[in-house]
Symmetry: C2
Subunit: 195 residues, 2 copies
């Protein structure tokens, strides 16, 4: 089997290069020059595909956000007791995070200096609020502890989940995705103590 | 009571300005010029106190690291069952994090480009390992769940704890420190589910 050398970029392959550079240099620190060098194509070739780096950012964080919001529309996120729906959403969130690692990493590092970044932050907050609502419902049904304020619990829960982007590398040598997903669910819902 | 205007800097007050600027601009992105402007004193006045920005970084992260390592020498970190020692260390870690917020924030953002940064990362890993050992001992005593690998559990635990620097602001308007400390201990050891 021979591998043809790719001389042309698709919007998809350009996006994956851009996300890597954004994550390495930070979005603010990335110029079209950096993107052109990393992709090995001219700036005008990049402009053939996109209007500029902000469009690449929007496409990249959209991919992460679409993956996360799609979870909320899955049947198991809407059926049964709130605690079961919450557990399902937590499990799937970790799965999306590991499957779309560079895109979610970028989303979590967005600062808010441009319109696109502020839009991404707003959408992220929306997602967090949807999960907080589930937590509130689960507490009202008596399945989730009532002694930690819902917003605080949501923050700590996402703190645990989002920290995975800092060390998880899907190279097949480290901890497997399945093990991470199970560990988050066990720790988030059951805690460390043996019951 | 009158407040005298401070025209002179102490190493301590210079450090607190430097930490703020490092956290705002990133250590790499901070020049002596930035520090001089932020402190309102000349660069040569800064050099009167310290050899350069790397010394300021070392002093700042040392303050965070000294605070964290001191916890391990407190009596309650060394007495009783491992799970109780672990719970005490987690509680005190969150207390040090909130009390020394800018210093711990800087420590958590260190990248490893300079000798001082690599030294700080190494010390941070040492601290994490000490906590992982406690977790391992608690699991061996049967008090902590055995179905999550110790290193993974430690990572998730610190993920939850360290995420606090992203949103906690000690301005008296948000969540109180005491509430955060209690919430982390309840969630980390008991989990979300009502037992």
């Amino acid at each position: 089997m021979t591998t043809a050398r790719r001389d042309t970029y698709t919007p998809e392959s350009l996006l994956s290069v851009a996300v890597r550079v954004f994550n390495e240099r930070g979005y603010d620190g990335t110029s079209m020059e950096h993107l052109s060098k990393a992709a090995g194509i001219s700036k005008s070739s990049i402009y053939h595909h996109v209007s500029g780096k902000e469009e690449l950012l929007r496409r990249a964080v959209s991919r992460a956000l679409d993956g996360l919001f799609a979870i909320l529309d899955e049947p198991r996120a809407g059926e049964g007791r709130a605690v079961e729906r919450l557990e399902y959403v937590v499990r799937r969130t970790v799965e999306v995070l590991t499957a779309e690692l560079p895109y979610v990493t970028l989303l979590l590092r967005v600062r808010g200096n441009t319109g696109t970044e502020r839009w991404a932050l707003e959408r992220r907050r929306d997602f967090d609020h949807r999960v907080a609502e589930l937590l509130r419902a689960a507490a009202a049904e008596g399945d989730v502890r009532g002694d930690v304020e819902v917003r605080l619990a949501t923050r700590l829960l996402f703190g645990m989940i989002n920290s995975i982007v800092e060390w998880y590398r899907p190279d097949g040598r480290g901890t497997a995705e399945r093990e991470i997903v199970d560990a988050v669910v066990l720790m988030a819902f059951g805690g460390l103590r043996q019951h």
